[in-house]
Symmetry: C2
């Protein structure tokens, strides 16, 4: 792992604001508060200049009030990724797919994302209508819910999505199986606008089973992501992705969600962003509604049962962009985000162990360097996590390479996951 130096920059211009923003998007994992703080203080170009500025650990800390060691560790974390940053290549990949990247200077940049404070993404990749993300803020409704939806939930999601587009609004969702897919589909079926927010890069739309639907969304609506092409949708990224769904839309409606569903994090983000949150009640006998009832019980959501009630959420949303009153921390790794049909991670992992475990490929092996780049953690953090994972029997060494343990752990101390 070399110190970051200008020689790491090959074939792109760190003084180009667009390149610099894309580079930050690649270097800093969503929720990297050091990166966010530095960028907020100086902008993408100057922040990058600081990272590239000198060899050794003798740099002045760039801004108050953090301990200089924080910045040192952050540079250690960013350096391995900086070596592989190629903004011009990422742009070329997405442009070939008919897409583009928006930066904060772009007039099409969704100003609503500024409500995220330090959680505002560095850039936004878009396939489809690049103006659609901006248009969600007035009249857009996030319709989200469990992958393990029921026929009841699908019915309600479909009705609500149809109602939102009939009122001229945009249906925002996460492109997942279940409620998300139904919401996108219903919007498209009525010729309405819909926006899918991905947890990974736009070159490989996830989940693969929704490829046809998501392709159609790129043609008739838009698919967006904060991470560049090639980024894989890890568990942590699903949860940080949820803040974008919450921020882009004027209001958020949870149609069905299990008690521990990752969907609840979207509702939590929306509430912190002062977006009205609705929850759809369902039978108390349905585990797929337990999360909705939890929101209602905690008075974290308003009970919504039909389209007029959904639209009244939108009306109650502040139509003008509110000041970002709260910073949203997105660095916490919570359990429960969907992971396709992969075997889930072992229970009880700490955040960094989980990030490293997620960075390991589902099949095959990886080098420690690859894991450092993929996880966005500093080398010694990765090494410490690898040691603990190995001790716990969760990974195996294959010469210099590492792979997930071949004993799949299907039973989980977390209990059954509903969705």
């Amino acid at each position: 792992m070399s110190e970051p130096v200008r020689s790491a920059v090959r074939g792109w211009d760190p003084e180009d604001p667009r390149h610099a923003a894309v580079a930050w998007g690649r270097m800093a994992e969503p929720g990297d508060l050091a990166a966010a703080t530095l960028v907020a203080d100086r902008g993408h170009v100057a922040a990058l200049r600081w990272v590239l500025g000198g060899a050794g650990g003798n740099l002045e800390p760039p801004c108050e009030p953090w301990d200089p060691r924080v910045w040192h560790r952050a540079r250690e974390r960013w350096a391995p990724r900086l070596e592989v940053v190629r903004p011009e290549r990422e742009l070329a990949v997405v442009e070939r797919l008919g897409g583009t990247v928006l930066t904060r200077q772009d007039p099409r940049w969704p100003r609503a994302l500024a409500d995220l404070g330090l959680g505002e993404p560095h850039c936004l990749w878009v396939r489809g209508d690049p103006d659609l993300p901006r248009r969600c803020r007035s009249g857009g409704v996030a319709i989200v819910g469990a992958r393990a939806s029921t026929a009841y939930g699908a019915h309600v999601a479909s009705e609500f999505a149809a109602g939102v587009v009939a009122a001229g609004g945009v249906v925002v969702s996460g492109g997942a199986y279940g409620i998300d897919a139904v919401a996108h589909q219903a919007a498209l079926a009525r010729g309405g606008d819909t926006l899918a927010v991905m947890a990974g890069g736009l070159d490989r739309l996830y989940p693969a089973g929704n490829a046809e639907l998501l392709d159609r969304v790129t043609r008739e609506g838009a698919v967006v992501a904060e991470l560049g092409p090639g980024s894989s949708p890890t568990r942590a990224r699903f949860l940080t992705r949820n803040r974008l769904i919450a921020a882009l839309a004027a209001a958020c409606v949870v149609v069905e969600a299990g008690w521990r569903s990752g969907t609840l994090s979207t509702a939590g983000h929306a509430a912190r962003l002062l977006r009205p949150v609705g929850a759809v009640p369902g039978p108390v006998t349905s585990a797929a509604s337990a999360g909705c009832h939890r929101l209602l019980r905690d008075q974290a959501a308003i009970c919504v049962t039909d389209v007029p009630e959904v639209m009244s959420l939108v009306e109650s949303a502040d139509a003008t962009r509110p000041e970002a009153r709260e910073q949203v921390s997105v660095s916490t790794v919570e359990p429960g985000a969907p992971q396709g049909d992969q075997v889930g991670p072992p229970p009880g992992l700490a955040a960094r162990e989980l990030a490293v475990w997620e960075a390991l490929p589902a099949r095959g092996s990886a080098t420690p360097d690859a894991l450092i780049r993929a996880s966005g953690l500093a080398p010694r953090e990765v090494n410490a996590a690898l040691g603990r994972l190995e001790l716990g029997g969760h990974l195996e060494r294959d010469g210099a390479r590492l792979r997930r343990s071949r004993r799949p752990r299907r039973s989980s101390a977390h209990g059954p996951v509903v969705d």
Copy 2:
């Protein structure tokens, strides 16, 4: 209609506190604020003495701050009923049925009823365990809901009632078809305590279709009413009865209720009495849950989905008797209370017209005097209402007698009534 005089008192003792309380229960319709005010000021015996005190309209107003005309009208209203008051006969009827009457001096009087302020009943007729009403206040749960319940609602009501009695609590309900019946049944099936609060007298348990169940409740729990034997359960009385259900229990849970269900009045009374209110969510596609969702949406109820959540309502209830902080007005006649399988009243009637219409027998005819006694209104109020009902085509004259119009009005300007 004679002036009330001592000669009206035949075969009972107006100076006997129990007789006097029973007499007031007969003379004053539930929610008669003049009666409540007079009794609160003087007690039942002295209040009755005032009514019997003199001929003519020259009596001093008994208490501030009302206009003397209010008292004059009240005496006019009470006098026709005073003529037919026979406390000793009422007691005999109920004692033959194994029952008794509780007055406010009785140690078994449920102190919780004092929370009703001026709405506190004058007496409480009981068949079954006369100590049960008092015992509801700690751990008792009102489990109420629509007559037009679904299998889902019945399932939930049964589970909740079983849980309440398993925790040693009393299941309080209204003895109606649907949710009420299921709640009583489930409590009995587990050998638990249950209390049914009737809108009419205890000599004819209503509805007739639940006679077997209610008989069993009189043997293994208790059935109570504030109105003496022979009193019929009119629409207005269902709504005033609901305040007793709310006051007796520590908490109130609405399992299923239509959008305009009379059950919502029970929840409203409970909230005003500072009793925790829970509502059970259900499918948004089920009209039987629309009232519950309305309560949740208005944040008038907490979402409850299982027995522990029901019991946490009870725990949050103040275990000690709270001071009656609010007077509960029960004089408003609201639409929507169940009426068995009779044809409902014409829509759009004012409160007095409705009371008179209700006083008319479903089949056959009645004299104006009988209507005055049955409705509890003053003669000229009854005459005015009769005139308006006749103009509206809602009643027909049959010589000196009156009957409901033979054109049943099944369609209602109020829209479909769900339960």
